[in-house]
């Protein structure tokens, strides 16, 4: 880079870069959210009306009914998922049962598919043409039952990841002390294990609740006449072009997410305080009875997940479910049922690729500037705040903000509306926080004096960034890229408001094919997405082995 030759000092370059990061974050996160907020206090013509929209909302019985419906399904799904995920996580961390790795992988499967894939799978099993329809005993799958079941499947891995972390953090010394005192297993569980994972449980419950209440895909596919907030928002904005009411619904959706954000922050602080610096990891002892009962439980839950998704995949290859189960590739000829055919998949690949490349570069450089510079502390603090914000904003809400912001006639950027670019920007913003935290964590682990050493050697910081910092953080950089890719591949909720006629995505095509009654093709598209996401993940695992092995010889002692 030629900053030096251009006569610029390091401090000026640093200032310019951090300013750019702040401006971009304001543009892609703060302004859309601000537009959403201001829309909610305007009428359709853009005049300020105070809280009139909120009053109208409260007076509308259908909208209030949706709110009740949403809270109910989200509450039920949370109540089902948390205990199951807790026992599953317990089995993975606190037992000596066999095949732990396999079970962990099985439970993560839903992460690699759009949420509505779970709904499609349930339709294959318990729907009108389901192979196990009789199990429903006359009840209808299309409605709260289906939504709760599909959301439980979809949110299971998210709860599991949090609970596994919480349980593996708990202090082994407490357990050993309790064992030594001859405390009964039941007492240990209630007095040590459960309190130790308390914050993890609270955090997981909030995450699941938020995930479910803001999810659009599942209720769209399996909800039938059962309205929820997410489908309302979609109908208000896309169907009726009633932006103010859409904004109000979006803000209502923001409440649980913001609450979850603060609960999670508190929980994390407590969790680390709970763990003293000298806490030792816990190595479970063998216990045949416990290990086998946990094994049976895990096997049941794990195979239920895999089997459900498996049925959807199977269904996508079947000629006419369930009457003619001969296999065919016809359902993969998307052009038969969907005008854009395979184009949606190509668009999804483009979106995911661009999001991974641009997003990873921006997030990592931004995190580096925030963490490692010593100049401009205020600007860096502000950038960090903006980077943490998307965590509290569900995709659907961010998507609404984007519609209002990028579709506005006063905004010169409205030429981007409907393009792939705006969807890339939106997806980067949507998943910014987790990527940012991943980058920060890895940056915090490297010696904080590298920048000082380079300054003393008169080597500018950007050179040390590219020669030392970025190569050292390569594993984290790969993690971020894969995380962004997989999420860009599977997301529906934000981009459903943003696609244009030539930029329809695979995940959105699923919604449309399902609407048109082509369930098998919808499942086929879901299968393609899942295969791609899993393929990229496997590539990641292989690449990691390579990076840790040959390319990063210095890691070997």
């Amino acid at each position: 880079m030629g900053f030096r030759r251009a006569g610029l000092g390091e401090a000026q370059v640093a200032g310019a870069l951090i300013t750019v990061v702040c401006l971009v974050l304001v543009l892609i996160i703060a302004l859309p959210l601000w537009t959403l907020l201001s829309k909610s206090v305007q009428n359709v013509d853009g005049q300020f009306v105070g809280l009139a929209n909120f009053a109208a909302y409260v007076r509308s019985p259908t909208l209030v009914a949706s709110l009740a419906n949403s809270v109910m399904v989200a509450g039920l799904a949370t109540a089902i998922v948390i205990p199951l995920a807790f026992v599953y996580a317990y089995a993975l961390t606190r037992s000596r049962m066999p095949l732990k790795g396999l079970f962990a992988a099985a439970a993560l499967l839903p992460i690699f598919a759009p949420s509505l894939m779970a709904a499609l799978a349930l339709i294959y099993v318990f729907g009108n043409q389901g192979i196990l329809k009789s199990w429903m005993m006359g009840a209808s799958l299309y409605g709260p039952v289906g939504i709760v079941a599909a959301e439980a499947l979809y949110s299971f891995p998210h709860a599991l990841l949090i609970l596994t972390t919480a349980l593996s953090l708990a202090d082994g010394r407490l357990r050993e002390a309790a064992d030594a005192l001859g405390t009964t297993r039941r007492r240990i569980f209630w007095t040590i294990t459960l309190p130790g994972a308390r914050y993890g449980l609270v955090s997981a419950a909030f995450v699941v609740f938020t995930l479910v209440i803001t999810d659009f895909g599942v209720p769209k596919v399996i909800g039938g006449q059962f309205d929820v907030l997410a489908t309302d928002a979609y109908r208000q904005v896309v169907g009726q072009q009633n932006f103010p009411m859409g904004a109000v619904v979006g803000l209502v959706l923001l409440i649980p997410a913001v609450a979850a954000f603060f609960v999670d922050r508190r929980a994390q602080k407590r969790q680390t305080a709970l763990l003293s610096a000298r806490a030792t990891p816990y190595f479970p002892k063998r216990d045949r009875q416990r290990d086998w009962s946990l094994f049976v439980f895990t096997a049941l839950v794990g195979s239920a997940i895999v089997a459900t998704y498996g049925v959807a995949v199977w269904g996508s290859f079947v000629r006419y479910w369930p009457y003619n189960l001969s296999l065919t590739l016809n359902n993969y000829d998307f052009a038969n049922v969907e005008p854009t055919g395979w184009e949606g998949y190509v668009n999804s690949l483009k979106l995911a690729g661009l999001t991974a490349v641009i997003g990873t570069a921006f997030v990592f450089v931004g995190a580096y500037l925030i963490e490692k510079l010593i100049v401009f502390p205020r600007l860096r603090g502000f950038a960090h705040f903006l980077a943490m914000l998307p965590m509290a904003v569900p995709g659907l809400v961010l998507g609404l903000g984007y519609v209002f912001f990028f579709n506005a006639s006063w905004n010169p950027l409205n030429v981007l509306y409907g393009t792939l670019i705006v969807m890339v920007i939106n997806t980067v913003a949507h998943y910014y926080t987790v990527a940012h935290i991943t980058a920060l964590t890895s940056l915090k682990q490297i010696d904080r004096e590298f920048e000082a050493v380079s300054a003393s050697l008169k080597v500018p910081f950007w050179r040390t960034f590219s020669r030392v910092t970025a190569p050292i953080c390569m594993p984290a950089i790969l993690d971020i890229a894969v995380y962004l890719f997989v999420n860009a591949m599977t997301t529906v909720s934000a981009v459903i408001f943003l696609y244009g006629s030539s930029t329809k995505l695979a995940s959105i095509a699923i919604v449309h094919m399902d609407e048109a009654g082509a369930v098998a093709s919808a499942a086929a598209m879901g299968t393609v997405i899942m295969a791609t996401a899993i393929g990229v993940k496997l590539l990641h695992v292989a690449l990691n082995a390579l990076v840790f092995g040959r390319l990063q010889r210095w890691r070997v002692r």
């Binding site: 010593i374 003393s456 020669r467």
Partner: protein, 366 residues
């Protein structure tokens, strides 16, 4: 001497330096001069502000007030890259993904010199620190002592005018530390580079420094040669921190005499306090004379030998002067003297406290 003369004669000149972290004042009004080619140690207990002062000099954590001149140039506001120094951190901060040679040459590559010249310089530096064969290894494959030398070579590569070392030896085990300490001192003298080293280890500072800057609570307590610091500590804090020192409560009885309990002591220097005021009388255990005590020696007392602690080359004896109401005083007796005199617990022997080895400090301190 004019201001210009002072600047000319000192390579590093610090005036009125202050730095706060939030409400906490880590440095208070620090003045310091370091001459060209000097080896100076900042010595003090952990948390006294040594690193803060070093980083301010480097420009890594700029001061809130005060000025810094390096080589006659005012660098008070200059960023680190515009100051002429090399630095070695306690962690060494070696780049783990670059080979030893690449680490050492890191600051050279930037200066658009021909490849061959850089390689030659790197080889020269590696030879200088005794790592000639290790250039192709990665830092993770070296021992702690070797890593420290790589960090030193890297800091010296650009021939800086000032070498800053922040506890460079504290991560090493005792044996290696002593060896490297001598090597570093020899290297510094050979290269003649002005050096500031931070340490909390008084032995290290005494062994290596031309001059020692003793710090406490963000202020400089004393600046002096190791000998001065040891023999003539300016404050009770310095006396206590450097070497062993026994403090006795005393009352001033004359211009050069104090009373401890029933014992009268003659001191070589003016007590600097009015008669009757309370002071501390300080003496080093090794300054207590136990052998060939002349009958007319100053401060001569008969003392009973109490506990004896064997400490290798010497024994620390607790001496109780036979006069009633006298305090117990620690004295170091060399192994030789122990054997020659046959010292044993319970003996009553004459001992003397040479007036020039006694120091008087105000009672408030320490």
């Amino acid at each position: 001497m004019t201001v210009a003369d002072t600047i000319a004669s000192s390579f590093l000149r610090v005036r009125g330096l202050g730095k706060s972290f939030g409400g906490f004042r880590a440095l208070k009004d620090v003045d310091l001069d370091v001459s060209r080619g000097e080896f100076v140690c900042f010595l003090g207990p952990s948390g006294c502000g040594k690193t803060t002062l070093l980083r301010a000099i480097a420009g890594l954590d700029p001061q809130d007030e005060g000025t810094i001149h390096i080589g006659g140039r005012d660098v008070s506001k200059a960023p680190p890259s515009e100051r002429d120094f090399g630095i070695v951190f306690q962690s060494y901060a070696l780049f783990p993904n670059l080979t030893v040679a690449k680490n050492v040459g890191y600051g050279l590559v930037n200066r658009s010199r021909p490849r061959r010249e850089i390689d030659a310089r790197v080889a020269e530096l590696l030879a200088l620190v005794g790592l000639a064969e290790q250039g192709a290894k990665f830092p993770g494959q070296l021992s702690g002592g070797q890593q420290q030398r790589v960090a030193l070579a890297r800091a010296l590569a650009t021939s800086p005018g000032l070498l800053l070392l922040d506890e460079p030896l504290s991560a090493l085990d005792a044996k290696v530390r002593v060896r490297l300490r001598d090597e570093m001192r020899a290297l510094q003298q050979r290269l003649g580079v002005t050096t500031i080293m931070v340490t909390h280890d008084q032995e290290e500072a005494l062994a290596m420094a031309d001059r020692i800057v003793v710090m406490n609570h963000g202020v400089i307590e004393q600046v002096g040669t190791p000998e001065e610091i040891y023999r003539r500590p300016a404050t009770a804090f310095v006396a206590d921190f450097v070497g062993h020192m026994t403090f006795l409560d005393a009352i001033v009885t004359g211009p050069r005499s104090v009373k401890v309990g029933a014992l009268d002591f003659i001191v070589a220097e003016d007590a600097g306090a009015p008669v009757g005021s309370k002071v501390k009388l300080a003496l080093r255990p090794e300054a207590v004379q136990t052998r060939a005590v002349a009958a007319d020696a100053a401060n001569r007392f008969d003392a009973r030998v109490g506990d004896l602690a064997f400490l290798g080359a010497f024994c620390r004896a607790q001496l109780a002067p036979v006069e009633p109401g006298a305090p117990v005083i620690a004295a170091d007796i060399s192994a030789n003297a122990m054997r020659d005199l046959g010292v044993a617990t319970g003996d009553v022997r004459p001992v003397a406290f040479p007036p020039e080895a006694l120091r008087v400090f105000a009672a408030a301190a320490s």
